[in-house]
């Protein structure tokens, strides 16, 4: 990088770049938002520990990289192998973690007032943060970039291979989830549990197992989000789950909590809003801008972008 200044970008290419940037972080928000929205859809609980599950996912992927001794970008078979190992450890570990959290922290409180479960969720969140801090240390950890640093330029707008990987991964996972929910037996059981758990029990649907599976599935998505987050920013910290989790929760509410396509749309809209807010207004107002939009939207459409009015349960 010499003294040569970068080329002046045209407003069009600048906008395109900001949209691409926002789309990338939005795709990660969307992956995490799915977990919030699925759990809420099934048992009407805001699982505030979900942001921490995402952070644990990033650390598990990092652990896989440390075990394999990866420090440099890889290609071909090595890349595929490392990617598989990372995903396996992160998704497997977080899936089990999500299942365990539900089993130990939420299931005993299923009949307790909703506030009790909410407080428990905050407790689980603190527990996970501190556990990771003790295990991995309190400082930022470098997350090795093992995806090759390819980039394409078009009139000043640039796109990296990693960004494309993030878009594709999120896209494929979301379509797969949507298919699972709409056209498999498990999906049908999940939707039935969301509608009326008592009627489900009468019909012989194993409600407890469905709820546990929902937690595991949502946690798995968060783990992929965590791995992509680590790859994109190359640092992870034990308190990364807090703000990112809050943003993903916002995305879920923005899209209409309980609604799976809503979480995807909410994540992308939030990412793009942040990008445009920081890019055209001021970066110090980045978070404010995103939350003001959320508040504004909720005033006029309390159910979120895609949320529908649901009858209160008796």
């Amino acid at each position: 990088m010499g003294l040569t200044s970068s080329i002046l970008m045209s407003p069009f290419h600048l906008l395109l770049q900001q949209l691409a940037n926002g789309f990338t972080i939005g795709a990660i928000y969307a992956l995490i938002a799915l977990g919030y929205t699925m759990v809420y859809g099934v048992i009407q609980l805001i699982n505030f520990a979900h942001g921490e599950v995402f952070m644990v996912g990033a650390y598990l992927a990092l652990t896989a990289l440390l075990i394999l001794g990866v420090a440099q970008p890889l290609t071909g078979v090595a890349l595929a192998g490392v990617l598989t190992a990372c995903v396996a450890l992160a998704v497997g570990g977080c899936g089990m973690l999500g299942w365990g959290i539900e089993r130990l922290a939420y299931r005993p409180l299923r009949r307790a007032p909703r506030l009790t479960a909410l407080i428990t969720a905050i407790g689980v969140s603190f527990f996970l943060q501190n556990a990771v801090m003790l295990l991995y240390g309190a400082t930022d950890r470098r997350f090795p970039a093992f995806i090759p640093a390819r980039r394409w330029e078009w009139g000043g707008t640039s796109l990296t291979l990693l960004q494309v990987v993030i878009w594709l991964t999120s896209g494929v996972l979301m379509v797969a989830l949507q298919m699972l929910v709409t056209s498999t037996k498990l999906g049908k059981a999940m939707r039935a549990t969301a509608q009326d758990p008592n009627a489900c029990r009468l019909l012989g649907i194993p409600v407890d197992r469905i709820i546990a599976l929902t937690f595991a599935l949502g946690s798995g998505f968060a783990a992929v989000g965590g791995m992509l987050f680590g790859l994109y920013y190359n640092t992870v910290n034990f308190h990364d789950g807090y703000l990112t989790g809050l943003k993903a929760f916002t995305a879920a509410v923005l899209g209409g909590i309980g609604n799976i396509p809503g979480a995807m749309v909410g994540g992308l809209v939030l990412g793009i809003l942040e990008g445009l807010g920081a890019g055209y207004l001021s970066s110090q107002w980045k978070n404010v801008f995103a939350f003001v939009v959320l508040v504004g939207l909720l005033v006029f459409k309390p159910t979120g972008l895609l949320g529908e009015r649901v009858a209160d349960r008796a």
Binding site: M1, G2, N21, D140, R151, Y233, T235, D240, Q284
Partner: protein
């Protein structure tokens, strides 16, 4: 069983009997969190200073001197809580800390009310010593020198005409950026924009993309290394050309590790003192530190210096009394410190005011020269 218990009891009693009464020196810095690498290397410097002082002889005859280490997590709230805790402990007679100006500023008021000597090793915001607290001292240069020195280098030597400013909106970052901006404008360079970022944020690509569209000659960042590393790395990713410069908050090897050596190559930064490896009087300390803790941190030497001076004041006072320690500190003249003979002005600022200039080459900080500020 009971015999063993009696033995244990005896040992405990014997241990108590030998204990001297204690006198404590406080130490506050971010010991956990993303700035912990700098906080820990300061702590190491302070511990080493205490051990060496003890080895030279009694600090306060009849007393055992202890270092009380508290963690402020670079949060002003935690810094105030730590200050109140120290002020409330009658055994604490002086304190070394904090790292961040945003922490040192509110804490200094509490130490002032408690009539307790506070020496900050590295908080460089000039406003802290302008509050008129006679309990406050600092062992580094201030940002009203660091900012102008950086501006002079940018305008005269790098020849940058169009500059974009970033800061982390803390007392330190905003203060330094404003000092830099004032001098830069006076030198006739153009400030294209000045924006704040939030500590703890990770995604700066929208901001850097916006800056890329303005094509500045240089981006200046006044803030700490965790955010600095992300800015440097994402700057390379969005393809933002031109130079990059920062202040002493970036001066930690972790910056290069997190930003990757390729992206960090060729950035510039100023420090609030000269290169400790080039100061003859500091070599003994550097050797002792590196033998024990490995490579030396950016602020280790300042923490060592501040701790040594606080211990000197305690020894000079000769009694466990905060006011006496403060009075002793005021008599300090030509203290033979790491950076040469230390003296402090009426505000408590050190008269040794070197600004160092560094660059990054092949993954390492390389000292260029001592910079001037006018």
């Amino acid at each position: 069983m009971s015999v063993r218990f009696l033995w244990a009891l005896l040992l405990v009693l014997a241990g108590c009997g030998r204990q001297d009464p204690v006198v404590k020196l406080g130490f506050v810095a971010p010991l956990t969190g993303d700035q912990a690498p700098q906080g820990q290397s300061m702590r190491n410097g302070a511990v080493l200073a205490l051990e060496q002082a003890k080895a030279r002889g009694d600090i306060l005859p009849g007393y055992r001197v202890e270092l009380v280490e508290l963690d402020d997590q670079h949060s002003p709230t935690q810094a105030v809580a730590a200050a109140k805790k120290l002020a409330a402990d009658p055994d604490v007679v002086a304190v070394v800390g904090n790292l961040n100006s945003s922490c040192t500023m509110p804490a200094s008021a509490i130490y002032y009310q408690a009539r307790m000597l506070q020496i900050t090793p590295v908080s460089s915001n000039p406003q802290i010593s302008r509050q008129g607290f006679d309990t406050f001292y600092r062992t580094c240069a201030t940002d009203d020198l660091q900012g102008p020195a950086a501006a002079l280098f940018v305008a005269r030597e790098l020849g940058a005409r169009r500059v974009f400013l970033l800061d982390d909106m803390t007392t330190y970052g905003r203060g330094l950026a404003n000092e830099f901006k004032k001098k830069l404008r006076a030198l006739g360079a153009q400030v294209l924009g000045h924006e704040g970022i939030t500590q703890g944020d990770k995604d700066f690509t929208p901001l850097l993309t916006k800056i890329k569209a303005l094509a500045p000659d240089l981006v200046y960042f006044a803030g700490m290394f965790p955010e600095g590393a992300l800015l440097i790395k994402q700057r390379a990713e969005v393809g933002l050309g031109g130079r990059f410069m920062g202040g002493d908050g970036l001066f930690d090897p972790v910056l290069i590790e997190l930003a990757t050596p390729q992206a960090a190559d060729g950035i510039y930064l100023t420090t609030i003192g000269s290169d400790v490896h080039r100061i003859p009087t500091a070599q003994e300390f550097v050797k002792a530190y590196e033998a024990r803790y490995g490579s030396i941190g950016a602020y280790s030497a300042y923490a060592y210096e501040a701790t040594s001076i606080a211990l000197w004041a305690m020894q000079r006072a000769g009694t466990k009394d905060r006011r006496a320690v403060l009075a002793a500190m005021k008599t300090l003249h030509d203290y033979p410190g790491l950076f040469g003979l230390q003296n402090f002005d009426e505000r408590g600022d050190s008269l040794i005011r070197d600004i160092g200039l560094f660059t990054v080459k092949n993954g390492k900080f390389v000292f260029l020269k001592t910079a001037s500020w006018d």
